[in-house]
């Protein structure tokens, strides 16, 4: 049921039965590396285009998620996914191979949570039983579309972020045993903070994250302290600091975390941290999922943030509109 502010409450308790996360070779460096299901040695195989490689990552992640959920691919009702490339071609091409009814979604790096929300709604309405939902990004493919060729030498400022090569997909089922459930979701509004610098995404996305978190807390009558962690997708170190300062809440300092800021640890090569649709998907569906499953966290809010720009719009001098979708996950011991 969508209320006036866009927060949905799920009564049927859709749960994340299993997940599959596949990352590229650079992500070996990641703080979360131990949680990933598979680390591929090759970002793109010989004679393979970056976009094809992205599709391969998606297929692998989906296969792992389905296997771990002890399901068969043909029993999956719907496949929902998105990525950052024009016309979602990598996901479309992966869907061609998977041959499951497919919904492609795009809200840039927030696609992971958007597909999860749509999947939960389909479960809630009783129209589907098993759903694959998630998102992916591929560093070279994204880089060449939004910025420069891979080998072009352009000095990156400290606010720049590194698009991760990763695909994260989750298998959603009703009442899966011993699995985190999705209780609420807040659909984001498109918020524009007036930022224009495409190499400073954290600043552009922070207002959207704030808007969504604030609305979610208000609609669910909760405060930050009620959550173990509120994790944003890919604000990066600088973006996270901006978000924390915008909240000026004493709890925000500890509870607000960011997947992108933690992704590569303190490695200064990656500047402000990680970004991309695959970043939030990979971390939420591996590390956060494990923490929930193992009972370390019992209530978390996952907020994926996306910058809705294209290379055209920022060259035309437009500001960067952003969106953030939130999902609240709980782990309860159920008989």
């Amino acid at each position: 049921m969508v209320n006036a502010f866009g927060t949905i409450q799920f009564k049927e308790m859709p749960s994340i039965a299993s997940t599959g996360v596949v990352v590229g070779p650079v992500e070996k460096e990641s703080f979360f590396a131990d949680s990933f299901d598979e680390i591929l040695e090759l970002e793109n195989e010989k004679e393979e285009s970056y976009e094809q490689a992205n599709s391969r990552f998606i297929e692998k992640a989906c296969t792992i998620a389905v296997q771990q959920g002890r399901e068969q691919m043909e029993n999956i009702d719907v496949f929902i996914g998105g990525d950052l490339i024009n016309q979602l071609s990598p996901t479309n091409f992966a869907a061609r191979k998977l041959a499951i009814p497919f919904l492609g979604v795009f809200s840039a790096c927030a696609s992971s949570m958007e597909s999860l929300i749509l999947g939960s709604l389909l479960l809630e309405s009783g129209n589907a039983k098993s759903i694959l939902a998630g998102a992916s990004s591929h560093h070279p493919a994204t880089e060449r579309q939004f910025r420069y060729p891979i080998e072009y030498g352009a000095q990156k400022p400290g606010s720049a972020q590194w698009t991760v090569t990763a695909a994260g997909f989750a298998l959603l089922q009703k009442h899966a045993k011993n699995a985190p459930i999705i209780t609420h979701a807040t659909i984001g509004r498109v918020v524009d903070g007036g930022q224009k610098n495409p190499l400073h995404m954290g600043a552009a996305m922070a207002p959207a994250a704030r808007d969504t978190i604030e609305r979610h807390l208000k609609n669910t009558n909760s405060s930050m302290a009620d959550y173990d962690v509120i994790m944003t997708g890919d604000l990066g170190k600088i973006g996270l600091n901006i978000l924390k300062e915008m909240f000026q809440d004493e709890d925000s300092g500890v509870i607000l975390q960011d997947a992108g800021a933690q992704f590569y640890g303190e490695n200064s090569f990656f500047n402000s941290g990680a970004s991309g649709a695959g970043c939030s998907a990979a971390v939420f569906f591996s590390y956060m999922y494990d923490q929930l499953k193992n009972g370390v966290f019992s209530r978390v809010l996952l907020v994926a943030t996306g910058a809705l720009l294209s290379p055209l719009t920022f060259q035309q001098g437009e500001t960067i509109p952003c969106i953030a979708h939130a999902i609240e996950c709980r782990m309860e011991k159920r008989g």
Binding site: V26, E43, H139, I150, N267, F270
Partner: protein, 121 residues
């Protein structure tokens, strides 16, 4: 010999510093910075300063992208000197730059030779 190396180091370095100031101080993209420098090189040649700079600094002045504007303008001016106004036009079609031809040639060769690899960090 050594003085030549040092002057080319200093002059070439200083031109790059100007580029860095344009990029960091004036927040220009690399493409804007390089275009600005090319136009400055061309203007400097117009007022007759770039050739003396090459005499002074050698590669320190011919290697930076400013020399690209210089060589284009120089070609146009040489024709203009011979044929007047119409020479400006004909000169434009005669000027060449080894930089462009080399970049085209090695660009294609490079694409032939090099495969895509993993992103390095």
């Amino acid at each position: 010999m050594i003085t030549s190396l040092i002057t080319s180091f200093i002059v070439g370095g200083l031109i790059c510093v100007i580029g860095q100031i344009l990029m960091d101080g004036f927040k220009l993209t690399p493409a804007h910075t390089l275009s600005t420098l090319v136009v400055s090189g061309s203007i400097l040649d117009g007022i007759g300063l770039y050739e003396p700079l090459i005499d002074f600094a050698g590669a320190g002045a011919t290697i930076p992208i400013t020399s690209f504007g210089n060589s284009l303008t120089h070609g146009a001016l040489a024709e203009a000197e011979k044929h007047g106004l119409i020479g400006v036009l004909t000169g434009m079609f005669e000027v060449t730059s080894s930089g462009i031809s080399a970049a085209i040639l090695f660009g294609v060769i490079g694409a032939f030779i090099f495969q895509k690899r993993n992103t390095t960090y």
